[in-house]
Amino acid sequence: MNWQIHLPALALAVPLLGAFVSPVAGLGGRLTRNAWMVLVSMATTAICILLWQRVVAGGTVVYVMGAEAWNITLPSGLSWPIRIILEVDAFSAFMVVVGSIAALAGAFFSLRFMDKFTGLEKFSALFFLLVTGMLGMQLTGDLFNFFVFLEIASVASFGLIAFWRDRPEAVEASFKYMVVSTISAMFVLIAVGFFYGRYNAVNIAAVARMLHMGYAEKIALVFIVVSLAMKCGAVPMHMWTPDAYAEAPAGVTCLLVAVSQASLYGLFRVCFSLYGASLGSTVVPWTIIVMGVLSMFIGVTMAVIQKEMKRLMAYHSVSQIGYILMALGVGLLSLKDPQAMADYGFTAMKGGIFHIINYTMYKGLLFLTAGAVFYSAGTRNLNELGGLARVMPLTTFMFAIAAAAIAGLPPFNGFVSKLLIYQSTFAVYPLLAVAALVTSVLTLASFVKVFQTAFLGPAKKTFEKVTEVPASMLLGMSVLTIVIVALTLFPGWTLSHLVEPAAKALVDQAGYISAVMGGGL
């Protein structure tokens, strides 16, 4: 049997194995533990890329856990779609690749960054559990398992955010995140309950096939939109984002950015594949668009006034999430109208999906550079930093690339995706494009401020002994830098090979359903 059939399961099983073996590997000392961490993250990334290749070449992959078929057939001939399935279409595969690259960079970075902490075998176990949760959310074809993986990712990230447990701020941030994400997970569970009560199924494809818009479905949709917007840090519920991102260890923050993308994935999977054209009114798309605009604007205005480096970047991630929400909201708005879809909707989807990979890469890199500055200089306060370009040239270089990309300066990848978003949202409502442009300018302004205060300027006496960070941390950062440069150099290839299949898969609800159900039921 061809082993590549098992790729979707391996993408979950390998990090899970990594998590469970970590305590054993920790017995062998620091070198064994680090080697294990590198090995597992590289294997996970390789599997995810192979999986993506397979999906792009051969269409949607469906994998059934622990059985041969997606349904259970009783001797009486009754059959129910109750198996645990993984369904990987091009959009999931794209998200999985993005997430695993961020995880790889975070793992490399954490090898030395976490040096001074105790209990590191627990750190790597939690890290891989977080990776498993994230990949599971993106691979699963089942609403209840989405909830389970959401909780796995949440519980692992609570532990990781509070990992520096002697620091009151870290524990406080973790508690705040925990309250928010437990509430949102319970909302998801209640929504799953509604679906189960109506259709006796939790399989996304099975529910989508039978879906009729009624009160129960509307309530479930509200619960899901609210909870997942809460989890990905859109504006009315964004208060946990700056705390959690700023207080988590930098390698973990890089991964948390990717995990918030998984919540975003869930939101769009539900809106596009589960509800699709039966959404009916334009209320939900406009809610998402307005949430996006508010996130963009409020996030960036809060970021401009921050004095702490990681907190500033965390507010920027609120505003970048806004771009993605707005673009995919526009796509959702034009879902029912083929003409609008061809005119601007599909461009918006492409822009939004391209922005997902761009955002994860450069935001992860920015958090890693902030971590590197913190590791070497011992402070994140912009008022105290200065002149680091002389002592940390490589970090400075990578920060400059990431900052240029997030600000959307022309040759960089951030510019391409933002341009697609400007074009398409202008066609819907010009004010949206204006808001996006203003946000972009403010982003540029605040990163110029960071670059100027932290890296340029005269060398400060306090930082005379500061040196460049160790090689493994540089390696972690350069993984992301290479991806950013590649995306910058080959935007055409990226759009046609990575982004377009994903956008098409997201729009194609019938394809998603028939991949699982075939002609059945």
Partner: protein, 115 residues
């Protein structure tokens, strides 16, 4: 009407939990609110799977004429309970740590992160 009473209970527990989370100031009470929310979600699943007069869905009773309640929501609820246990344990541990650091359980005084 009486058939809907369990759903009413679910709603009441849900709103009690939300009230505790939003308006209480003691960390332990917030934790209780979160567990109430979990309880309401679990109860909702169980109630959805109930069939009047149904017996427990156990393999050895299969094939009789009696109706059984649906087993799937029970499996879902068990999973949710296990996850809820992990969350509550971690929640209480974090509260212990917070108390150690701040010396108080009042949320108004635990706010070193702001702005």
């Amino acid at each position: 009407m009486t058939g809907n009473a369990p759903f009413l209970v679910v709603g009441i527990i849900f709103f009690l939990g939300m009230y505790a989370i939003l308006f209480e100031r003691n960390l332990i009470k917030i934790a209780i609110g979160i567990t109430l929310l979990e309880a309401s979600a679990n109860l909702l699943l169980i109630v959805l799977g109930y069939r009047t007069g149904g017996s427990i869905p156990v393999y050895t009773l299969a094939g009789g004429t009696r109706t059984m309640v649906l087993p799937t929501p029970q499996a879902l609820t068990l999973t949710a309970i296990v996850i809820g246990l992990a969350t509550s344990a971690l929640l209480l541990s974090l509260i212990i740590l917070l108390y150690r650091h701040y010396g108080t359980l009042d949320v108004r005084e635990i706010r070193r992160l702001r702005g």
